[in-house]
Amino acid sequence: MLTAQNGESFKIGDVPRLPPSKFRQEILDGVGRGLRISALFGIQQENRTIGLFCVLAHDAENKLSVLSTAVTGRFESLTPDCPQAHLFEREIAEQFEVVPAGHPWLKPVRYPGGTPFFSARGEELHEVAVGPVHAGIIEPGHFRFQCQGENVLHLEIQLGYQHRGAETLLETAPAHRAMVVAESIAGDTVIGHATAYCNVTEALSACAVSPRAHALRAVALELERLANHVGDLGALCADVGFLPSAAYFGRLRGEFLNMLMDLSGNRYGRSLIRPGGVLFDLHPRMADDFLSTLNRAGREIHSAADLMFETPSVLARLEGAGTVSEWACRDLGLVGPAARACGWTIDVRSDHPHGAYRFAHIPVSTVSGGDVYARAMVRRLEIERSIHFLESQVRDLPEGSQDLRNTCGARPPRRMAVSLVEGWRGEITHVASTGEAGEIQRYKIKDPSFHNWTALSLALRETPISDFPLCNKSFNLSYAGHDL
């Protein structure tokens, strides 16, 4: 296997090309040793050959391993021995004319309709179909429940309604267009995906980014995390009918969006991050305003969160709801707060640090239990830690306002780069490879939701269907990020 660090580029030719059986065995051995599949994808090659590439994350040793194989027609599926691979293999089968033989549930990922759902039969069983258009202001997706009375036996989630062809656009569109597409992969994760896109672009063209620009990217990434985590706590309160904290968190979420607007002119941070650095600086006067807002909002969040976590009727609804076991979490390779709520200590910011995170560490927040309560509590802890991190970054921004954005040179041919970013939902992975003329030959995006949607299915098992909104909100996954 080729060993690389997060944000490094390497020659495609240096990635070992193993026979399919050896490729499969190496992944199984790696996952057996505790590595995670961060990305597994195909690249179209001559004739009808598909190059399969796998990026394994070695969290304990802060490194990535990359390996590849070439397949045509059929290859032996990893999924029966390695459930982490299940959706990646379905995606490969959908994007290329290859079949992972032995895959237990080989269905399209992003082309709904035409394939049957898993169904259970029996006198007392019934089926509930929801979506793609849902009751609230949320994205479209289809949920198919197999129920016995109120109890859910199985939930199958069929997405794809949001598929806009983002990967193809990133491969074919001119650079200024590709940048705005990257910002629109998931509208609540503008900074996360834009950072991953720029890290990959900069790695391919060997472009250096100034320490101040790196720090401002980290500031924006944490503001994005804060806005979303605070909003999620409010949404959880709303779903259990606890309106006081729902209202407070709903308003406090806006404080962080407005800070992003102060910095970038847009509430979601659009146009801040560009290849080579950032477009906007944080002036000393703005930094003072940021510090006082962080201080005030931090105290107000604390009081709203105390109220939430000390109200017995709230806790009664959160505790024990939608539990995901620790073994399921590892088997599926969950990421982000959902994994940390199962007690798994993984976080790209400390395992594979990039940019400012190489110099300033954020302690990883974990809670055990794997239920809605644990996922809420992880968010609460991360909110506090992000605020502390922001205060220290904003107070001591590196010097260098004059070179916030450097120019990126031409991309050399036949290289590949991998970038991991800890978005607020978890690990975002972008992989890009260049062709003969340095053009983008393949652009692979993996949103954390790609790993975590299956966890929602598992969380619903043996749970009343009326708890679905609560469980769903506790993950708050992206449809657009999954569908691309």
Binding site: A166, T168, S184, G187, D262, L263, N266, Y268, Y479
Partner: protein
């Protein structure tokens, strides 16, 4: 008992937070990118730097400079590309329009025509109570988030008698976000058909209006106003540009449609 005391104490600490708009003018930070203003007289002969810099071809010369708010993502590219400062962003959040062509700004100093109110019959139906059903058809969720934000205590949509509802059967109109993916075409059509007539269509965001960054992708049908010949275009009553539009931009558009804002912005009940 102790908990009830905590609820009251926290309530007092959190205070009253609803914005004073529309009675008072809204405030935006210096860098806020509201409606752009163009001064075509500053354009040097033969210069098309802004046109080349625009990621969504929102700018064109015919022969004077034109900027299409329906395509504009409100990014900073054209402003940075222009050597003469002919394009700048103002802090004006108002930019919703009733007609597609009203979204095209000219560089000759002409005022933008903001959305006019519905006719008297429609206004009497919807003016004091408007229920809308949102459909995301390939949106990145940015526009949906700003629509959700309208429900929070700051913007408090409910005080204007406007409400987002769960069922199209309860709705007076549809709020469309996203470039209409092929995979959502059927669901969008069914939702629209389920809304009782007369019904409104409101396109929110660059994607719904023109396809936004996804215009031209084979997976999308390019927004509400310009689908391929095979698809029936939805008759759009109100266009709200932005990527995503600020919540006050959306609110301003909705209230203008209902005839509840004076031209200056003051609230008329």
């Amino acid at each position: 008992m102790i908990n009830a005391w905590n609820v009251l104490k926290t309530r007092l600490r959190q205070g009253h937070r609803t914005t004073a708009w529309p009675e008072e003018a809204p405030t935006f930070p210096d860098r806020f990118r509201g409606r752009p203003a163009i001064d075509g007289t500053k354009c040097p002969e033969g210069c098309d730097d802004c046109e080349k810099s625009c990621p969504t071809q929102a700018i064109r010369f015919d022969p004077g400079i034109r900027l299409d708010l329906g395509r504009c993502l409100f990014c900073a590219e054209c402003v940075n590309a222009c050597p003469e400062g002919a394009i700048r962003y103002t802090a004006d959040h108002r930019m919703a329009a009733r007609n597609r062509e009203d979204l095209v700004l000219a560089g000759n100093g002409a005022e933008m025509r903001l959305a006019a109110a519905l006719d008297a019959k429609m206004k009497s139906l919807f003016g004091r109570s408007l229920k809308l059903r949102q459909v995301a058809a390939g949106d990145c969720s940015g526009c949906a988030l700003e629509l959700q934000a309208l429900n929070n205590v700051v913007f408090d949509l409910g005080r204007f008698g406007i409400q987002f509802v769960a069922s199209p059967r309860h709705a007076d109109g549809i709020l469309l976000t996203g470039p209409v993916t092929k995979n959502m075409k059927l669901a969008l059509q069914k939702t629209y058909d389920a809304i009782p007539q007369p019904r409104l269509v409101i396109a929110v965001g660059a994607c719904a209006i023109s396809g936004g960054p996804f215009r031209g992708s084979p997976a999308v049908l390019v927004g509400a106003d310009n689908p391929p010949a095979a698809a029936d275009p939805l008759p759009v009553d109100l266009y709200i540009p932005g990527c995503p539009p600020h919540p006050l931009t959306i609110l301003d558009g909705l209230l203008r449609l209902l005839g509840r804002l004076e031209s200056g912005g003051g609230h008329k009940l």
